[in-house]
């Protein structure tokens, strides 16, 4: 496995890694947003008098 092929795999790996990290960030944000949305909806429906 000469250096040339090694770097090729490194390049493709890097591309997929960045994409993977971004997808994780998006799902984390999605979960946070859904939780916040439910909390705010509950807060508006029966405002704590």
């Amino acid at each position: 496995m000469n250096r040339n092929v090694q770097y090729m795999l490194l390049g493709l790996g890097a591309a997929w890694l960045i994409m993977f990290i971004y997808v994780i960030l998006i799902t984390l944000r999605e979960r946070k947003l859904r939780k916040e949305l439910d909390r705010v909806r509950r807060m508006v429906e029966q405002p704590n008098k």
Partner: protein
């Protein structure tokens, strides 16, 4: 309905990518003087194309917001710009790794690379600015201004390989009067571009849904405070 589109696109893109990867790795021979490393082009070029298109599209959408003051344009502009930034990151990373072999250095202060890094910094600032402003209309206005100013640099970067003689290769694709590639080698670039474009569409749709969540949260919060 959106779920089905996303799933459908994902399956199509996945299959296309798998098939294309197969042709790249098995059917195509190594390039005569670069060896196996040239295969990075199949991700480097499509990623940069999508990044460039994304920044340009983001600019037009931002102008759309400034004209119509409709927050949907702003949400789309933000989603498209964010996804474009991801692809620009992929372009920079793969380019740098490829350069390690061909030029022997991870980075060179070449016009093309520098201007693309400048775009990456500017649109990174664009996303940070969006997080720093609370009021949706003000955020949309400020983001639109940064997007338009930033795309001037994106255009400079796009044209840089034609205006100056750069260490970065001149246009290679046939459509930009390059035509430096053997016939069999160029086709997979376009297939990968299509596959990655589908993925980016999925990402934009997901981001758009998140933007509408954020918009609803903001409205409900303001209503709660106004009670």
């Amino acid at each position: 309905m959106r779920e089905k589109i996303i799933i459908g696109l994902a399956l199509f893109a996945g299959a296309l990518l798998a098939w294309n990867m197969n042709t790249i790795f098995t059917a195509l021979p190594d390039e005569l003087n670069q060896g196996a490393i040239y295969r990075i082009i199949y991700f480097h070029v499509p990623a940069n194309i999508l990044g460039m298109l994304g920044f340009g599209l983001g600019m037009f959408l931002s102008i759309g917001y400034l004209v119509t003051k409709d927050l949907r344009y702003d949400a789309l502009a933000a989603s498209v710009t964010e996804v474009a930034l991801v692809y620009a990151s992929i372009g920079l990373a793969t380019g740098s790794i490829w350069a390690r072999i061909i030029w022997g250095v991870w980075w060179a202060w070449d016009v093309r690379l520098t201007s693309w890094l400048v775009c990456w910094l500017i649109f990174g600032g664009y996303l940070m600015l969006r997080r720093a402003v609370d009021e949706p209309n003000q955020r949309a206005r400020f983001a639109a201004v940064v997007s338009v100013l930033g795309s001037v640099n994106a255009y400079i970067s796009y044209k840089s390989i034609e205006w100056w003689n750069t260490q970065h290769p001149q246009p290679v694709l046939s459509i930009r009067n390059g035509g430096g590639m053997a016939q069999g080698m160029e086709a997979p670039i376009w297939w990968n571009l299509l596959a990655l474009a589908c993925f980016s569409t999925i990402l934009v749709m997901v981001r758009m849904r998140q933007e509408s969540f954020a918009r609803e949260i903001d409205t409900l919060r303001r209503m709660a405070h106004a009670q």
